[in-house]
């Protein structure tokens, strides 16, 4: 155990009571006097020319306050990556998927807004559409964007070392292909926002987002107003998992309508619209060849990816890079070649989702490792341990594993699951499998090219010295970042946690790139720590002056101040404090000077106590094209063992046990870390066994509801054994790094390897429905 007072504990999250009582406010919970309700008209066709839009009837409908189309909103191109701004707020020349936005309406109530949508007459000329990524790459396929012939949204070609030579020199080369399906993030809170233009022309946007900073920039760009005139305030957010990482048409059209009407405008997606907006997990096709030596040493990996991007780019450039770069570890490779293709199709655009770009290819690769181990007659655990990277290793694509408890994780799940007593010893129909993975602890570079700080934090102490407030633009979306920052501030200041408040998610407070790429614990954490240190040092300075001692002799812990580890002679400070607060009923007491008294003294001497912190990573990564994607100041890693029972008659899979170990560096809050681990397993289990966004032959989502699109319920989840592994990360605040996404990496392949162990059927397509597994078992019986 550590000797921290606050960190590494199981402190209850600071927003727990608000959320448990229903007091926590989410975007759709806000109402304002005079507020209008808005709705978006979406294309019913997957691919069509827009010949004419006639909104005159809608405009005349009583209660309608504004209708906007591309004509009013303009044609400013936006997107996530500046290299691929390929969207306009409303479609103007053509629509590219069922759900593409055509117009938006603001009215006095929702019923009127909906009625107005029906009155907007759009003349379409339907075009041939393409829904399959392989078809979209063929010559003669319908083309989505003129600027991107062949529907080729992005191509990546990277090679590290000599892969062909490596494969040739290998004793054994094993090949594998793998196909996942589109996964929806299925956060329980649909996107929602409330846009308000003040009389000063400034926009305030209350919105359910993971990235207030990027939303501010994109909305300012599209509305053509200065960034300084946009304030994004994120209330509590009901889950994000990636798709809430970019500005949405909801936010931009609400802002337009608010400007046009001078009224607050609220808009919330229906569950169906959440599916149509998507920006969730891509469909990936993976093709891999792995070369090894007879003793199990990995030599070279050839990896090819095809991604169904849907109609627009969204985060996709990063996604298609990640599918390659995130196989650089956690095993030593001598050579790696990657060819990635992200293809446009007439489906909703895909974006970032938990484990961004890495999940499907990790699933393919970890299966490939098991297939190789079997051919070599090696235990899959031993084979992984033989090739594992450790702290200080550099991947073949120049990712620096500044700390890596991968070996500890593997050993922890091996021993925690009783692997040795089970592997190869279970009856037919029962299986055990394992897999590993790693993930960035914050993207090394911002989405737009900039020298910007990734995070700044302001900490302010109340004038009485008793309350510390952390002000940050970072995004609490359920993962617990507010609690994490409060704990880091409390630890650094030697303050008790219950006297620290956090105000977050507001672009007026600080710069923070937001909740994506598992970055906030490390990056916002660094800035919080620095801001708190500044305050602590200021207080120490003033105290030292007052007490006539050296500042370095002063320490803070548990809300009290020590001088050379002793109480010190602070009588004068205490009596002054009590005199100032005559009549107060909570005078400071005890044998030590309290933080409150010390901070009050600092206020009296220097005015309001404010500390500021900032963080940006050092220059990271290699100099090859695309080297930025995959870089991070630190990497988290995890290993999982899964045990399954397969009904050999029906192909039904039951996951019996999951054992999970994750190296998150120092666990700032052990309960929150376990929460991320267990949530990741649940999302991975769903993607592996039953989640799939399905489409009909005209590109319409067939299952756009949480009844038809199935995510795991409490009955689908087994008992999980969560083991926290704590390497000490030199680049993290107090040695901390990520857990939110790395923890999903091993889940799918661990389940698939367990299914293979139970049945002898190697699944290369998700989800593993009873039917799919039954057919695979039949095929295998035939062979």
């Amino acid at each position: 155990m550590t000797d921290y007072a606050v960190l590494n504990t199981r402190a209850p999250r600071i927003d727990g009571p608000a959320k448990a009582t229903g007091r926590a406010m989410y975007a759709d919970d806000f109402n304002m006097p005079g507020m209008l309700y808005a709705a978006i008209l979406q294309s019913p066709l997957a691919h069509a020319k827009i010949l004419n839009i006639d909104a005159s009837k809608a405009r005349k409908l009583p209660g309608v306050r504004a209708v906007v189309t591309a004509k009013e909103a303009g044609l400013v191109k936006y997107g996530v990556s500046p290299a691929r701004y390929d969207e306009t707020l409303f479609a103007y020349d053509k629509v590219r998927y069922v759900g593409d936005e055509v117009a938006a309406v603001a009215a006095v109530d929702m019923d009127t807004a909906q009625e107005a949508l029906e009155l907007i007459k759009v003349d379409y000329e339907e075009l041939p559409a393409v829904f399959d990524m392989f078809e979209a790459m063929k010559e003669g396929a319908p083309q989505l964007h003129e600027e991107f012939p062949g529907n080729m949204n992005a191509e990546v070609h990277q090679e590290f070392g000599d892969t062909d030579a490596g494969l040739e020199q290998s004793d054994l080369v094993v090949n594998h292909t793998f196909l996942n399906k589109r996964q929806d993030a299925a956060f329980i809170e649909p996107h929602s926002c409330l846009a308000v233009f003040g009389l000063d022309g400034r926009l305030t946007l209350h919105t359910s987002t993971q990235v207030p900073h990027y939303v501010m920039r994109t909305v300012a760009m599209v509305l053509q107003i200065p960034v300084g005139d946009v304030r994004v305030m994120k209330p509590y957010v009901g889950g994000g998992f990636g798709p809430k990482c970019e500005a949405t048409p909801l936010e931009m059209s609400a802002a337009f309508l608010a400007r046009q009407t001078g009224k607050p405008v609220k808009m919330t997606y229906t569950r169906q619209q959440v599916f149509l907006h998507s920006r969730a997990r891509h469909q990936f096709y993976a093709e891999m060849s792995l070369g090894v030596k007879n003793d199990g040493t990995l030599v070279a990996l050839r990896n090819k990816a095809i991604l169904d991007g849907g109609a627009y780019t969204s985060f996709g450039i990063a996604t298609v890079y990640y599918s390659g770069s995130l196989l650089g570890g956690p095993y030593k490779l001598k050579a790696m070649k990657y060819d990635g293709y992200r293809v446009y199709t007439n489906r909703p655009a895909c974006g970032a989702q938990r484990g961004h770009g890495g999940v499907a290819h990790r699933a393919a690769f970890e299966q490939l490792l098991d297939m190789t181990a079997e051919k070599l007659g090696m235990d899959p655990v031993e084979m992984r341990l033989k090739n594992i990277m450790t702290t200080g290793d550099m991947t073949v694509n120049e990712l620096d594993m500044s700390s890596l408890g991968m070996k500890d994780c593997i050993e922890a799940v091996r021993d925690g699951s009783g692997w040795k007593g089970k592997k190869g010893k279970l009856p037919k129909g029962k299986g055990i499998g394992m897999a590993c993975g790693f993930f960035v602890s914050g993207a090394g570079y911002p989405i737009y090219r900039s020298e910007t700080y990734h995070s700044t934090v302001v900490i302010k102490v109340s004038e009485d010295g008793g309350t510390v407030t952390v002000l940050t633009g970072s995004a609490e979306i359920g993962q617990g970042s507010d609690t994490t920052m409060a704990m880091i501030a409390a630890e650094t200041l030697g303050m008790t946690l219950d006297n620290v408040r956090v105000i977050s998610g507001d672009t007026d407070l600080s710069v923070d790139l937001g909740a994506y790429s598992s970055r906030q614990t490390l990056m916002t954490g660094h800035a919080t720590k620095e801001a708190a240190e500044q305050i602590r040092n200021r207080i120490a300075q003033y105290l030292a002056e007052e007490m006539g001692c050296d500042p370095s002799s002063i320490t803070f812990r548990d809300g009290v101040v020590l001088f050379d580890g002793q109480p010190g002679n602070f009588e004068k400070i205490r009596s002054n404090y009590i005199k100032e607060h005559r009549g107060w009923t909570d005078p400071p007491h005890g044998e030590y000077l309290t933080f409150r008294e010390a901070a009050r003294l600092a206020f009296l001497k220097g005015g309001t106590l404010v500390g500021t912190g900032k963080y940006k990573p050092p220059r990271l990564g290699g100099s090859y094209k695309g080297a930025a994607v995959g870089t991070s100041p630190a990497y988290g890693c995890s290993a999982q063992v899964v045990e399954v029972t397969v009904d050999l008659e029906t192909g039904e899979v039951t996951v019996d046990n999951m054992t999970d170990a994750h190296d998150c560096g120092l666990a700032i809050n052990r309960t929150l870390v376990e929460g991320q681990m267990q949530g990741s397993l649940s999302m991975g289990l769903g993607e592996c066994l039953f989640e799939e966004v399905k489409f009909d032959s005209r590109g319409r989502v067939l299952n756009p509801s949480l009844g038809e699109y199935k995510i795991p319920t409490a009955l689908d989840m087994p008992k999980v054994k969560s083991i926290i592994v704590e390497s000490n990360e030199p680049n993290g605040p107090y040695g901390a790094k990520e857990v939110g996404e790395g923890a999903i990496m091993p889940t799918i392949p661990a389940i698939l390897n367990a299914i293979y162990d139970a049945t002898g059927a190697r699944m290369n397509e998700l989800p593993v429905s009873s039917e799919r597994l039954y057919m695979a078992m039949e095929k295998q019986r035939g062979e």
């Binding site: 199981r10 209850p12 999250r13 927003d15 727990g16 009571p17 608000a18 959320k19 448990a20 009582t21 229903g22 007091r23 926590a24 406010m25 989410y26 759709d28 919970d29 993030a185 299925a186 956060f187 329980i188 809170e189 649909p190 509590y236 957010v237 009901g238 889950g239 998992f241 229906t270 569950r271 979306i477 359920g478 993962q479 617990g480 309960t671 929150l672 376990e674 929460g675 267990q678 949530g679 990741s680 397993l681 649940s682 999302m683 509801s705 949480l706 009844g707 995510i711 795991p712 319920t713 409490a714 009955l715 989840m717 008992k719 999980v720």
Partner: protein, 160 residues
Amino acid sequence: MKKIIKLIVNGEKVEAAVEPNRTLVQLLREDLGLTGTKHGCGLGDCGACTVILDGKPVNSCLVLAAQADGREVLTIEGLAENGKLHPIQQAFVDKGAIQCGFCTPGMILSAKALLDATPNPTEVEIRTAISGNLCRCTGYQKIVEAIQAAGQALAGTEVS
């Protein structure tokens, strides 16, 4: 044509004039300002809008406001007393059963309906009772642990 309904919400008498197609969740959230009840899908799939109607957990998006006429509704706002969390709420906070919190009100009310009827439930009974409340964040484990702990805490208070 609006209909006047009378019901008891969190122990207090409420009268409201509602359209026939107005749902209970709309009445609670929009007319009564009880936004602790969440709206996640509007189709009865996610359970975020769960409230307790005459002792039984229901999806308030699938109940018409008019159907609540003459009945008693308990929402998440009615659970804490005098600023003190209900033992189920406290257990959710203590056990780390809350992440984004959007499913939490419905989840807690499903747990309450279970523990009222079955004070000492098995794990399977707990998982079954909350199987209509979807949570994407937690993987449910800490929620199950919280409900177990709350059951024990409630049993303890009854003894004393």
